[in-house]
Every structure is written in C-alpha cells, then in structure tokens.
Symmetry: T
Amino acid sequence: MEEILVIHGPNLNLLGTRQPDIYGSATLEDINAEIESRAAKMGFKMDFFQSNHEGQLVDKIGEAGARAIIINPAVFTHTSVALRDALEAFSGYVVEVHLSNIFAREDFRHKSITAAVADGLICGFSLQSYLLALEAAARLIQKTE
Amino acid sequence: MEEILVIHGPNLNLLGTRQPDIYGSATLEDINAEIESRAAKMGFKMDFFQSNHEGQLVDKIGEAGARAIIINPAVFTHTSVALRDALEAFSGYVVEVHLSNIFAREDFRHKSITAAVADGLICGFSLQSYLLALEAAARLIQKTE
Amino acid sequence: MEEILVIHGPNLNLLGTRQPDIYGSATLEDINAEIESRAAKMGFKMDFFQSNHEGQLVDKIGEAGARAIIINPAVFTHTSVALRDALEAFSGYVVEVHLSNIFAREDFRHKSITAAVADGLICGFSLQSYLLALEAAARLIQKTE
Amino acid sequence: MEEILVIHGPNLNLLGTRQPDIYGSATLEDINAEIESRAAKMGFKMDFFQSNHEGQLVDKIGEAGARAIIINPAVFTHTSVALRDALEAFSGYVVEVHLSNIFAREDFRHKSITAAVADGLICGFSLQSYLLALEAAARLIQKTE
Amino acid sequence: MEEILVIHGPNLNLLGTRQPDIYGSATLEDINAEIESRAAKMGFKMDFFQSNHEGQLVDKIGEAGARAIIINPAVFTHTSVALRDALEAFSGYVVEVHLSNIFAREDFRHKSITAAVADGLICGFSLQSYLLALEAAARLIQKTE
Amino acid sequence: MEEILVIHGPNLNLLGTRQPDIYGSATLEDINAEIESRAAKMGFKMDFFQSNHEGQLVDKIGEAGARAIIINPAVFTHTSVALRDALEAFSGYVVEVHLSNIFAREDFRHKSITAAVADGLICGFSLQSYLLALEAAARLIQKTE
Amino acid sequence: MEEILVIHGPNLNLLGTRQPDIYGSATLEDINAEIESRAAKMGFKMDFFQSNHEGQLVDKIGEAGARAIIINPAVFTHTSVALRDALEAFSGYVVEVHLSNIFAREDFRHKSITAAVADGLICGFSLQSYLLALEAAARLIQKTE
Amino acid sequence: MEEILVIHGPNLNLLGTRQPDIYGSATLEDINAEIESRAAKMGFKMDFFQSNHEGQLVDKIGEAGARAIIINPAVFTHTSVALRDALEAFSGYVVEVHLSNIFAREDFRHKSITAAVADGLICGFSLQSYLLALEAAARLIQKTE
Amino acid sequence: MEEILVIHGPNLNLLGTRQPDIYGSATLEDINAEIESRAAKMGFKMDFFQSNHEGQLVDKIGEAGARAIIINPAVFTHTSVALRDALEAFSGYVVEVHLSNIFAREDFRHKSITAAVADGLICGFSLQSYLLALEAAARLIQKTE
Amino acid sequence: MEEILVIHGPNLNLLGTRQPDIYGSATLEDINAEIESRAAKMGFKMDFFQSNHEGQLVDKIGEAGARAIIINPAVFTHTSVALRDALEAFSGYVVEVHLSNIFAREDFRHKSITAAVADGLICGFSLQSYLLALEAAARLIQKTE
Amino acid sequence: MEEILVIHGPNLNLLGTRQPDIYGSATLEDINAEIESRAAKMGFKMDFFQSNHEGQLVDKIGEAGARAIIINPAVFTHTSVALRDALEAFSGYVVEVHLSNIFAREDFRHKSITAAVADGLICGFSLQSYLLALEAAARLIQKTE
Amino acid sequence: MEEILVIHGPNLNLLGTRQPDIYGSATLEDINAEIESRAAKMGFKMDFFQSNHEGQLVDKIGEAGARAIIINPAVFTHTSVALRDALEAFSGYVVEVHLSNIFAREDFRHKSITAAVADGLICGFSLQSYLLALEAAARLIQKTE
C-alpha cells in the first residue's frame, strides 16, 4: 500500500476555531478525516502532519519515505527557501495546495517559492483543493507504475 | 444539462504536431475528446474553443452562457488584461488550468494576470490538469445547487 | 461635413448586459445614440466602431479618414503599443476617453501608453466623458479652420 | 446660486508673462475671465484662487464651501500628498485639469497623486481644459439635484 | 517649568468638522485641551501649533526653545526632508505621533522620513497616541535631569 | 482579572549578557519584573514568553486567551509573515513594541510586516516602550468595556 | 525550390502612405517587390504576409512550412510572448529584422522578446535590413544542406 | 549695474546658531556680507532672500528681474519640482550651489531635481561655493554682453 | 584547549543520503569526523551542531562559549536576519562556509545576509571549505593571543 | 579607395584557441582573412584592430579616418559608455556586430549601450555577421555617394 | 611652489577636432594653456594628463605627489569604481569638474561615482569650470596652510 | 613543477604606501614574498602580476598557461564582465580572493561578477586570504591528479 504524506503549514491548526466567519467551522481534523476517507477508497495509506515550525516541516520532509507529498505550505509558500530545498531533495512527487486562490489575495501572496520544485499546484477550491490534490498525486503515482 | 466551456489560448493548436518530443504526440483534439468523454459520464454538456486571437477569446467569453469556464490562457496568462476583464465580467465559475507547472519555467511565466479573477488554478499535471479542472468545476457548480 | 470616428475597446460591448449593478443599464448602443444626437446638432458626421480585437482597432485607425478620433482604448490603454503607434501615425486629432477615473482604480490602470500620442484625455465622468470629448474634438477642429 | 471654486497651482501666475512663445500670451486673468463669463451663463458663482504655496492651497480647500472644485495642481499633481488628503476630505465634487497633456511630457509628470481622489480628469486642451471642466462640474452637480 | 511643543501637520485642523463619521467629532482644540490638562498635572508648560504650511512648521521648529517636541507630521511624514532636517537640528527630544496606525494604511504611508531623526514613534491609538507621547517625552526629560 | 501576554522575539534573551556596552546591563528578567510590577498596580495579570523560534511564537499566539498581546517581534518584524498571520487571527488587541527606534537603524529594519495587523506601534524608548505599551493596551481594553 | 516566409507586423501596412516625411514614400508592396526580385536570383520562393493582428501572425507561423521566416514583428517585438512562443515552436530558421535601429529609439523599444528565439537580428538599415536578412537566411539554409 | 539674486532654501537661517560644532559659527548674515563685499568690487548689485517656504521661493523667482540667480535650494534640491519649474521659467542665468558635497552625504541627497534647469552647479566648498558661484555668474553674464 | 563550534544549517543532515549523484556519498558525520581529526592535530576542541530550525541555531549561538564559530547557514544565508543578529552578538570569531560556490548558483543565492557580520567567507571547495575555514579560524585566534 | 575599419573587442583574440568545442576552430586571423577577401572584391581597403583594452579601442576610434567602422564590442557592448561616446563622436558610419545572438544569452547581455549610437546592428550569424556587416556598411557608403 | 595635477578622462582629446559645432573649436591644448596661464599668476606649478585608459588614470593618481587634483573623469564619472578608489587613497584635495552640466543630459550621466570621494564638484561652465576649479583648489590649499 | 598565477587588480599596488593606518604597512611585495615562500614548500612555481588596467589583466589571463589562477580582482570584482569572460575561457582552476570581507563593506561591493566563473571564493582574512587560497588551489590541483 503506497503512502502519501499530507503536510499543513503555519496557522492551519487554527482552522475552525479562529475567525470561523471567514474560514468556516471545519477544523483541520475534519479536513484530514475527509481526505483519509477518500484515500482509503483509493487504496492509499495516509500520514498527516501540521506544524507552525519551519524546522519541523523540513525535518519531516527530510525523513519522509512516502511516494508523494501533498503540502499546503501556507505563508511559507512565499518565504521559505529551506522548505523549497527540502522538497527538492525529496525523491517522490510533490503537489502544492492552497485553500484560497493565492493570486486573488495581497500582492505578497502571489509568488510561490515552493511551487518551483513541486510537480503541480492546485489552489482556490477550499477543502476540495486537498481532494483534487489527492487525485492528482494518485495519477502521478499510477503513471510511473 | 449544465454547460461547461473549455477555452484554449494561443499556440495550443500546435499540440502533438510541433515539438512532439517535448509536448508529446497527443493533439488538442485528443485532449478535448478525453475531456468530453469524462464530462459525459458526469452529465455535463461541453463546448470547446481554441484561438490564437486575444480578441476572439474575449468575444467568446463575452457571449458565453455556460455555468463555468475552464480556461488555459497559455501566454495570455502573463500579459492579457483584456482577458482578465472579460473573465471578471463573466458571471459563472472560472477555473484556470495549465499543462505545465508555470512556476518551474522562465521568470516571466510565474505571474498570472488572469488567475486573480478565477475561482482557482490547477497546473502541472499535463492532460490531467484539465480533468482535475473539470472535477473542480463540477464541485463548484454542485455547491451552489 | 467633418467626420469624427468614435472607437470603443475591448469588453465595452458588454455595457448594460454584464454587471449592470456596477456599470449601469445603458448599453453601448445607448451611448452611441446619445453621442450621435449631440453631434448632429453640432454638425458632425459620426462613425462608431467597437472591437475586442487589437488588430481590428489598429486596422480601423490605419484606414480612418476622419478629422478626429475619440477613443476609449479600455484595457489596451495600459498595454497596447500597437494602438499607440497607429494613433501616432494618424494625422487628425485624438481624444482619449474613459468612463471611469482610471487613477482611482487598480495600480496597473494608472498608466496610459496611448495618451502619450493623444491631444488630450478626459476620464471619470461616465457617459459625459464621451460628450465632453466630442466638444473637445469640435474645438480642436475649429481652432485649425 | 451654486458656487464653484477654481484653484490654480504653482507657477501658473506666470502665464502670459514668462515664456510666451511656449505658453501663449493669455494671462491667468484672461483665463479666469473666460471661465467667469461662461459660468455666468450657466448660473454659477465662481471663486478663483492661485498660489505657489502648498499650504495656502490646502488651507483654501479646507475652508471651501463650494459645490465643486476645479483644480489645476500643476507640479503638485506629482508630489503633494497634502493636497491629495485635503481634496479627499472635501465633500463636494473635484475635477482635475491641466493645460497640457501631462502624459506627453517628461516621465515624472505622468503620474497624478491628486487624481486618485478627484471625480475625473481633463488635460491637454489648454484653456478649453478649464471650460470643459466647468461643464463636467456642472453635470456632476446637476446629476445629484 | 519645562516647555513641550506640540506640532500638528497638514489637514489636522479639519478634525471633527470634515468626515466626522471616520475621524470622530473631537476637534483639534478638544485634543489640545486634553493634552494640556494632563500636562498641567505633570508640571509641563505646553505650546500648540498647527499649520498646513511646511515652511511654517520648519520656521516654528527652528525657533523652538522647548525641551521636547511632540510632532504629528501627518502627510509630511512621508515626503518632507525639510521637516526632517529641521528636527535633526533641534537640540531637544522629538517624539513622532500618529492618530492612526500608518502601517495599516496605503503603501505610501508606511515609510517615515521624519522618524529617522526622532527619539521614538507612537502610532495607532488615536487621541491616546498624544497622551502616551506626552508621557514618553516626560520620561526622556526626566532621564537627563 | 484581565490577562495581557507579553511576547519577546529572537535574541532578546541575550539582553544584559551580550554586548552590555550597547544594550545596557538590564536583563529580560529585569524588564519583565518592571512590567509586572506596573501591571499589578493597574490590575492586570501578566504572562511572559520569549523564544528564538518563529514556530513557538506562532504556537503561543494561536493558543493565547489574553485580552491583549504586547509583542516585540525583534527581527521577525521585518521577515515573518507567519507571525503576521497569527496576530491577525488573534481576536484581542495587539501592541507592537521595540526598544530602539527601528527607523533610525539599517534600511532593512525600517519596514514592519507585523505592524500592519497590530492596533498600534511604540518604539524608541527602550524599557519605557514596554511600559507605554502596557498603558496603551490598558486604554484599548477600557475603551471596549 | 526552398520557400522563405516574410512576415510584417502591425502598422507596417501604412508605409509610404502615413508620415512619408519620416518613413519615406516606398510602400510595403515596393519593399516586397524588391525582396522578391532579389530572392528570385538566389533561387528562393517567397511568401509575404502582413497583419495588424497578433493572432493572425501566430496562426500564420503555426501553419508555416517554409525553411526560414524573416520577421519584422514591429511593436510586437517588445510585447508579444504569443509570437515568441509561435516562433520557438517553428522548426526552420528565424531572422528578426527592423527598418530602424530600435536601440536608438524610445526606451521601451530597446528590448526584444522575440529575438530570444530567433537565430539572429538585423536592424537599422531600412529596406536593406530585409535584403541582408534574406542573405542571412540563405546562408543559414545553405549551411545545413 | 547688473543685479544678481542670491536665494537660500530651508533651514539655512539656522546657520551659526544650531549645531555650530558641525556647521561652524558663521551665520547666514556673515555669508551674505562676504558675498556682498566681493560683488561690490565686481560691480554687481546683490539681492538676498532666505525662506523655509517653498511657495515664497517660487514667488520670489517668479518676480525676479535679476540677470542671474545663485540658489542653494537646500533640501528642496531633492524634492521640489515647483522650484525646478520656476527656475526653468526664469530667463536669466541660474547657478546652483551647496555648502557641502551632496554626493558625499546620504543617498537621498545625491540627486538634484533643480540642477537640470540650472546652467551649472558648484558644491562642497562651504562659503567658497557661493563666492565661486558669484564668479561663475559674472562670467556667464559677461559672455553675453 | 580552545573550543571551536561548527554549525550546519537546514537540509545538511541529508548529505550522503538524498541526491548522492549530486552531493556525493559522504555524510555529515563523515565531514565532521574529518574536521575533528584535523582539529585534534591543531589542538582545538570541537563542538558540532546541525539543525533545520532557525530558532535552535539562534539558541545555540546565544549560548556558545567557543572562541570561534564556523557556520554553514545553508539557505538561512539568504533569508535569516535572526541568525545575523545572533552572530553579531557573539563575541568570538565567525567564519562563514559553503560547500558550493553560491555565486555560481541561482540568483537568490548570491546575497549573504549573515556574511556581513562574519570575519570572512570561504565557499566553493566542498569538504575542503570546512578545513580551510578551520585553518582560517585558527589563524584569527592565534593573531589575538 | 574607401577604407573600412574592423574593431574586435575583449577576449576575441582567444577565438579558435580557447574553448574550440564551443566557439569553433576558426581564429580571429581566419575571420579577418575572410572579410579582407570579400572586401577586396567590393573595392574596399580594410584595417583590422583587436584589443582587450577599452582605452586602446577608444584611442583607435578617436584617430580613425575610415568611412565606416564595423565593431564587435564584445562585453564592452553592455558596459562601456566610453566606447559609446567615442563612436558618437566618429563622423562615419558605424555597424555593430556580434557572432552570437546576444538576446538568447544571459540577461546582462541583452542590452547594448553602444548600439544606440550605431547606424545598425547585426548579430547571431557567427562569421556571417561580419560579412553581412560589410555589405551593410558598403550600402550605407554607396547611399551617400 | 605647490603642484596641482589636472586630469582629463576619455574622449576629451577629441575636443576641437570632432563635433566642433557642438563642443567648439578650442582644443584640449588651448584649455590647458589657459589654465596654465592663470595658475602661473596664482603661483602654482601645473601638471596635465589626458588618457582614454582607466588604468593609466589610476596609475597617474597612484603616483601623484601634487597638493590637489582637478579631474574631469568624463564618462568614467558614471562607471569607474577603480578611479573612485584611487582618488580616495590620494591624500591631497580633489576637485571634480565637467564642461557640461551633467544633470541636464541623459539620465545615465546624472550620477557621479567619483564625486563621493572628491572635496567638491563644479560643472556646466565649459572652460570656466576648470578655471573655477583652479580657484577652488587654491582656496582649499590656502585654508590648510 | 605546477605553476600558479597570482593576479592583483587595481590600486593594490598602493598597499603599504597609501593609507597605512587603514591597510597596514605591508606592501604588495611583502605579500607576494610570503606567498612565494609558502608555495616553495608546497612545490609550486609562482607567477605574480599586478595591474590597474583591465585590459592588461584580460591579456594576462588570455595568455596564462598556469594550472590555477588566484585572483584578487579588487574593484573589478563588481564591474568587469571582460574579466569574467577571460576567466571563464581559462581552462585551469580559479580562486577569487579578497583581503577584506566584501559583504561587510558598502552595498556596491556585495556583488561579485567574477566569482560566478571561479571555483571558489575566500575573503576577509587579509594576507591569510591569499595563503588559504594557495592551499585551496593546491587541493583542487591534487584532486585531479
């Protein structure tokens, strides 16, 4: 059974508890559960990881043995070269994902440092972004089997 | 039956004929056929349009009565404010799609003028980008029904 | 009888039909009618042209035999050097006009490539922008008679 | 009887006396007289003010009770945030006007800091710029009556 | 009895009269009265000065014999090198103050030319900004006694 | 009893031990003690936190239940979008504070990413910056009671 | 017999008719005739195409079966990524040509987006630019035979 | 007897009184006396003017009937387009002068907006800068007699 | 016996395991062993530290009692002001080192924020970079003995 | 017999000896011989000059009495204002030439400082660039005879 | 007898021979003769040096034993850091001089790299620039005697 | 016996004679002697070259037959593309060296044009920089034997 690692960047732990009027009442656990349920049907083993610490994200990617990483780097998208280098060193597939459409937000959120070393990017479909990323990762894995 | 309009920007008509070593041997017709087949199962009526003319793309969007537009603006992504304004005036959903990961290419392809007025963006998964965009559009439409 | 050519750029054909809550319910035909009526009293023969195609606008200007052009280049204001060069080659008067105050909108709409080769610019008075431009053109023509 | 305030920025007091070969022999008084004459026919009471002092212009706008201001900020167009904020605080209409086409001059004259808080802008028609601005102001006032 | 000079920059004279829905109904006189009352308890003699004229502000600072200046340069914060140099030549303490948080406003209000020569900056607490600045000035004066 | 959280960013733990000739001999503990003593008189319960880890600062803010945060983000002021987003999601008041006047230091220290989401900023008064921030926070809290 | 395609960009159709005092009285037809006459002696079959429409130029290049393209992209030199991509996909030789020396004109005409994908560039020799380009193309073709 | 006007910009009135350790103990009056004495020997009538008000400087230049202006615009050198335009409209000679070498100071003092419309510039020789400027002005006047 | 601290930044823990075709098969442990062996002969006591966490690196430097630090900040070279400030507060010598020549890589790797506070920089000699840095540190220490 | 001067800039003396796999085995002498042979048939007397010294190139141009200069400034193309000014002062024709297509190389090679004062530019055709430049120069000379 | 060294940069050897309509018919020898004659009366021994070679200028300054250097670096003003460093190492006075007003010419001539290490700058008075520089140098020398 | 060439750029000939308080009293000859002595023990034949002329440095590198070049390009580090290209064409090893830490000096000294084509860079250790470079060069040579 192939493993896929889902990584959530800084402040995503606050989903559903802070600013629910803006981000909705679904928590990160709810999102993970939905992904897990879908993945189970597709035959993937999932691993989930959230951290506000750039170093922990880099550690996790450095140790990762998964076939693919689905990563929402959150604000590290725009600032972290360390994350970029960790993802570049990872030998599996990488799908970058965002809940919101980063191109429709403030200027400083329009550029992605990490996307340059990902296979592809999906953003703007809230929870569905993750589920589409799961399908994208699955197809990338199947393509090489 | 809901209609979804698929728009392909400049030079995409050359797919499969020019530079097949780079872009593969699948033609735009092959891609459209695959999308159509998938859409038929999902219950959508599809309309396909390709043009190298910014004006024709703007005309088409201005006349469009579809529930959603899946658009690969190709190089107009980075330069066409006219396309951006046409998409902004369109009342349905807009999903921007790219065959390649534009963030892994030349610097001038990293910015998207059109994505700012789209609902979301999917790039980097070649043909699968379109099929994932179809699913994304379907879910956006279902959400409001 | 002197002729004045009125040129409308991309997406202006959507006036009154798309986003009426923002742009009002007056169509481009309504605007043209109002201009025509005023021009008739002033003794000018009017020609109207709208296109979403930069090439058609350039063609039209290249063939124009009018004494003056009133042009709302819309988004081409900010991007089209081709339009700029066509207007520069035109031997009559050129008045640039905008429905909205472009300086009160997004940053990328603050600069005008085409205004540099126009005689003057009028913006921000919606329909009245066109009528003031008609008066401006009339006075420029009278000055040289 | 509605009042309209006409404000002339720095160095405009030199019109007709300095560099007459470039700017013509009409003085600022001549221009004001022409505006007053036209305004009288339209039923407006006019107030005229010229100063080379940014502070006096800000003072004048701060005390203004007119329905509209027609302002030629001259070089303050490109540099004065103080003027911009004074105009923004003014509750009536604001029409910015320039004798020359600022977009056809040196690069540093292409941007307008003040236009962002005006209702509209008219430039390039020399004396006629003011008369067209008067008509523009009149129509803005009529629209809200 | 030590003297502290409070300087208010352009357009602050309009407080309470223009745009009361945004800036509240307190006038500059109300603010000055509140500062004076507090200062009296602290044993300071206050001098207040407001001007829309950069030159008058520079004159005032050049003649100032106070132990400290509390200055709200308003828009001159972002543009006036003359004010900066006048404050640099002043031998007492300088506390820069703003009613609003300038970093939460438009981009051009994020930089302060004058703060570089002040001892410190306090912004974002409306009237309280001035009162905190008074306390700050008092402590700077006490430190050197 | 209302709680106020005081957060100190990277390298502030070195106060009093490294470079005492520049930063003085007061340690961070001394500063906290002084704040606590003042706060006790004002009736606030204080919580203090220092970390060199961006992630720990983000964690702390994410879990914070205080009415207000007084934060000296140190160098993260200029670089950390993660901190900015954490503060934006926090529902209480935020006062940014700096020991030195950041506008009088190197260019890269002139911009504050975090201040944009704070209520206000106080800088340049060394230890007094914190005490003034405490008063500012107190007044913000009182205003809404 | 080898075919060479000559493409003329926007506004070049006006040669000889508009601004003859600047650009001379030779029309585009005159230029084409001169090229054709020279090419006939060299044993090449020529195809000529002019358009003000970026889309038509892209279409034409996409369908081109010639051994080489001599292209004067006119203002599209500086703006059209679509043209650049079409030329890059073309498998024959590409020689970019300009009547004037673009480096001696306005700043915005100094950069060439299209030249990056051409084999070489010739500019500044008016009609002779085309004839030199013809010789250049001939030598490139001969080199590979 | 030819007249030469000497203009001193903002904060120069503080010479000799503020920061004497840096700028020396000579006052502006001392400098003017020295210039006058030298000019008397050369046969020129001098007029001196100092102001911290940009508007007064512009007024003065606008009314000036002198053969030449020697101007030390101080900080307005780097910011005042109004001064630049006033000097440009002046029909006599203009010599810009600075006490210090502006190119050896902060970056923002390296550019001169006003020098572009002066005949020449002399800086870095403290009081001697003025005396050299007087000689320069004298020679320019003699050249045209 | 003098102590030298060797610090390795993010992703250097992956040396020898990830991308061995690019970075070789030597692990960080191999590198440390080689340094230790050389240092032993030179009479230095070594301490080694690797972390992907900016905060841990800052902590470590803050607590360091060594005579010199040899640091390979990896990607933090280009982004971490926190590291820069920690190194600046450190009272011993600092030698910055890189395995690769950072000036021969991507543009964003050409600037070093941390080098500004180091004594010197050595890069481009892979493992030898560290050994040369050890010699450099030794000579700096000897110079002050 | 008209004379044409051919100037080769820095490092072109290495042609054929250094990096022959990239630049081919033809030496600068081979190129000069080919040019000379062609020129002899056209009736021109040739002078050849190569130097790595900007000063020698400037000297040579300053003394040149030729009807035209064909110059390959090599890297001085992008940096030498001295060369630019020397060429501007030269009264004959100037044709700039490059072996490679400078627009297809690194960014810093895309701009030409010298081309602004040349009559035209030819690049990208290796040895043929020089022969085409010879023809271009010949036609410019003939045009004025 | 004190010695003053006069240095003329690239292309100044062409004065009077190239472009006499622009630069006049006076040669560099004429200028030097005029300077020498004036200097003789003032009691200075003069040394003159002209070169188009940056290296020769740097050599000359490095060997110079004069009390002052009067240098017209010509285009090296804007580009030569080598010249700047040579002048900085020179222990006597440095006066930078230009025939024309560099601020009234092309943008790239507005900045002076060398002026930052000169005592002062004089430009815009053609030959008189040198004579004024001689007087300036004389006064600097006298000041320290 | 392998040869290593040591190249010193502009103004380094002044070491020990100009500004000894800053750069020390060791002359370039002293430095060369120290390098030679060390190299003799390591079995290398050394060649030393200093010039203030970019062209002579380029000539020297073009003729060099050494196994490695140790170069201190001094200010040419930041400006000379000619040097960069000469070094790139050199087939041996290249080690760039600086006496001072260029990253701790003025901004314009932070970028190295030449380092991009070197094998490595060593800076900040004064004379030791050269000796470390010698060791670095030795190890690069040994690696390939």
